[in-house]
């Protein structure tokens, strides 16, 4: 088959092949040649729309080098910030009269094992009561060097949230007053929310048939 007249194939890494998550036995569904690639990294360009341009205007002059990319997706704006500059950016977001994001809704970790060099993400949701706006700040760090500066000094509410993210993902928040586990026991090994941490579970017998543990069941993803 000639490929000259076809559009260029996407370069993104393969997310899955086939349709039904069949891995060991043969796929007889007819979808076995299906290749689904990961969605490319999003990056939006101006104008962002809504109030996002005003927020970016107030943030970018001082921190043009700190912001890696801006993503506007599904009516929400995400600023991807370099981890070294995070406390300054947060301080500015909180204190600048045009921004005034007084309320932080905490930290949420996400583990993307396939993003080499930026496996661990910390996601901050901020809310401005003055302007009634929301933004999301996302920071990433490599798995080999899981350090992100702590923002407890700026938002004291991050105390427990950073402990939780450390507990579940192993991200070390440098400068946190007492970074200890919060949900798991102190001597627990591993960080349970990471993708390489197994869910566990045992097979269950139901009416004579064996139902495998949840993480051993067929996945359609």
């Amino acid at each position: 088959m000639t490929t000259e007249n076809l559009p260029g194939l996407p370069e993104e890494p393969v997310a899955r092949k086939g349709m039904f998550g069949v891995k060991d036995s043969g796929d007889t569904s007819g979808y076995n040649r299906l290749v689904v690639r990961r969605a490319p990294k999003l990056s939006s360009s101006r104008p962002y729309g809504s109030y996002f341009d005003e927020v970016a205007d107030a943030l970018e002059p001082a921190f043009a080098d700190a912001i890696e990319r801006v993503v506007v997706d599904r009516g929400e704006v995400t600023f991807h910030v370099r981890r070294e500059r995070l406390p300054e950016v947060m301080q500015h977001l909180r204190d600048d009269a045009a921004l005034r994001f007084e309320l932080s809704l905490g930290v949420s970790g996400v583990h993307y094992p396939e993003e080499t060099g930026a496996e661990l993400h910390a996601v901050y949701h901020l809310c401005s009561i003055t302007h009634n706006r929301r933004v999301r700040v996302e920071v990433s760090c490599p798995d080999a060097d899981p350090h992100i500066p702590s923002t407890v000094q700026v938002y004291p509410t991050h105390d427990w949230h950073e402990r939780e993210t450390y507990d579940f993902f192993g991200i070390v928040f440098d400068g946190h007053p007492a970074l200890t586990r919060i949900e798991m026991p102190d001597d627990w090994e591993g960080h349970p929310q990471r993708k390489d941490y197994p869910l566990g579970g045992i097979p269950v017998e139901y009416r004579g048939a064996e139902v495998p543990a949840p993480d051993r069941r067929r996945s359609y993803s």
């Binding site: 997310a15 929400e76 309320l103 809704l105 509410t157 949900e183 001597d187």
Partner: protein, 442 residues
């Protein structure tokens, strides 16, 4: 052989929270000369709202340090959801904050709907039912908050009143959803089943009884000298403290800021309902009590309006999105053996349409795919802003779901509200935060 060794051999490694730095703490305290007393309160204590553990350092009767230990109810709900379909996730999130399950479900479903881009296509009737059930749940949750306040301060009548009234709400929820708690009623795309026949009348009756009951409670507590002396000027936390600690909900509104997501960032059509946001300026436990009482009265107003719409203009409308690729294929119906798939639907897929059977099977076992991306959806739960950070990688299962639970964040205010006060006031401070440990630990 010692007992621990035997236990280790038979059960594998045992994890507990004894030892480690707690031993050091006890050692340091015993060595110091001053008369400090470290009191461990909980995790099994009737006035710590479930399994909250407080470590209090006392100087006489004054609390000099209050430390909170959580994690005793951590069940890994967020991790478990990553191994289930998007729809199955509802049955997990409903168990987080178990006193306000509908709020967890709605926040999660709003997040999924945002990712799917179908927020505008949710039927109005489904949105009105969500509002109705959320406000009913708000009343039952506030009733428990006030009931336990009373009980923990030594008054049993508010407890009996509160739980009696809550029972009415739970009966209504059982009538509507089939379950008293953990209903998994709100689903991505709408709600699982329409209001049953007679529900409007039953809620109407409840609306007739409830204002009188709230008045009774107010009569009992509003100016009760014992109650006010235990609650006024106790556990002071002003607006600055609330903002810094990320405290939202009745605590924030008792500090004078009328911040309510239902008004400021409306969802589910709250902008079309007429209600007020009650506030107080006292920043204390009594103010939080007054805010909760007034919020119940406002909820009754919203329920009345929602009921008018459901029995009027929205009567007979769909309660699930009319998109066959997302909406649950069957409707639930009450049969002789309880709630289940409607007999009509079973007859259709088993008797007349092979395609409908395949469709049903695929949607139920496989689930629907959600485009890759992330979304944050938040609702005003009885305890404050409940946010769901939902991440998808394009598959049929959530890639990551994180709940910003208000109880978790608000509990950080324990040292700020308790230190420097009397040890007896710790009880009312924690009660006024109204933490639900299922939501804190998840």
């Amino acid at each position: 052989m010692s007992t621990t060794e035997t236990a280790t051999e038979t059960q594998g490694r045992i994890y507990d929270v004894a030892g480690q730095d707690w031993d050091e703490l006890v050692k340091t305290v015993s060595e110091s000369a001053d008369e400090r007393l470290v009191v461990n309160m909980g995790p099994q204590h009737p006035s710590t709202h479930g399994v909250l553990r407080l470590v209090l350092t006392l100087d006489g009767e004054t609390v000099t340090e209050a430390r909170t230990v959580i994690g005793y109810l951590h069940t890994g709900i967020e991790k478990n959801m990553e191994y289930r379909t998007w729809t199955q996730g509802v049955t997990f999130v409903t168990r987080m904050d178990y006193l306000a399950p509908i709020f967890n479900e709605t926040a999660y479903c709003m997040g999924v709907e945002k990712l799917l881009g179908i927020t505008d296509r949710i039927p109005d009737r489904a949105q009105a039912i969500r509002v109705l059930t959320m406000e009913l749940t708000r009343i039952s949750s506030h009733l428990v908050a006030i009931a336990t306040y009373g009980l923990e301060l030594g008054a049993t009548t508010p407890m009996l009143f509160g739980f009696r009234e809550r029972e009415m709400v739970l009966d209504l929820m059982e009538y509507i959803t089939g379950l008293r708690m953990n209903m998994a009623y709100v689903r991505p795309g709408g709600v699982s089943v329409d209001l049953p026949a007679g529900a409007v009348d039953k809620i109407g009756e409840f609306l007739k009884i409830m204002p009188g009951r709230i008045k009774e409670m107010r009569k009992l507590l509003d100016a009760n000298p014992v109650y006010t002396r235990r609650t006024k000027d106790v556990a002071y936390l002003d607006l600055t403290g609330c903002m810094a600690l990320g405290v939202t909900g009745p605590m924030l509104r008792a500090a004078g800021l009328p911040w309510d997501l239902r008004k400021s960032q409306p969802y589910c059509g709250y902008e079309t309902y007429d209600f007020d946001v009650p506030t107080q300026n006292t920043c204390d436990v009594y103010g939080r009590y007054l805010v909760r009482m007034a919020e119940m009265e406002e909820s009754l107003k919203i329920i009345e309006q929602a009921l008018d719409r459901l029995s009027g203009p929205l009567k007979g409308g769909p309660v699930m999105i009319e998109d066959k690729k997302i909406g649950w294929p069957s409707q639930l119906a009450l049969g002789p053996d309880g709630l289940g798939n409607s007999p009509d639907h079973i007859a259709h897929i088993m008797g007349s349409s092979m395609e409908a059977l395949i469709h049903h099977f695929k949607l139920v076992t496989e689930g629907f795919r959600v485009p890759a991306g992330q979304a944050y959806a938040s609702v005003e739960s009885p305890r404050g802003e409940l946010g769901a950070h939902v991440v998808s990688d394009g598959g049929t299962r959530p890639y990551r779901v994180h709940f910003r639970d208000p109880s978790f964040t608000n509990l950080q205010a324990v040292p700020a509200t308790c230190e420097g006060g009397m040890v007896a006031d710790v009880i009312s401070a924690v009660a006024s935060i109204d933490p639900v440990m299922g939501g804190v630990d998840r």
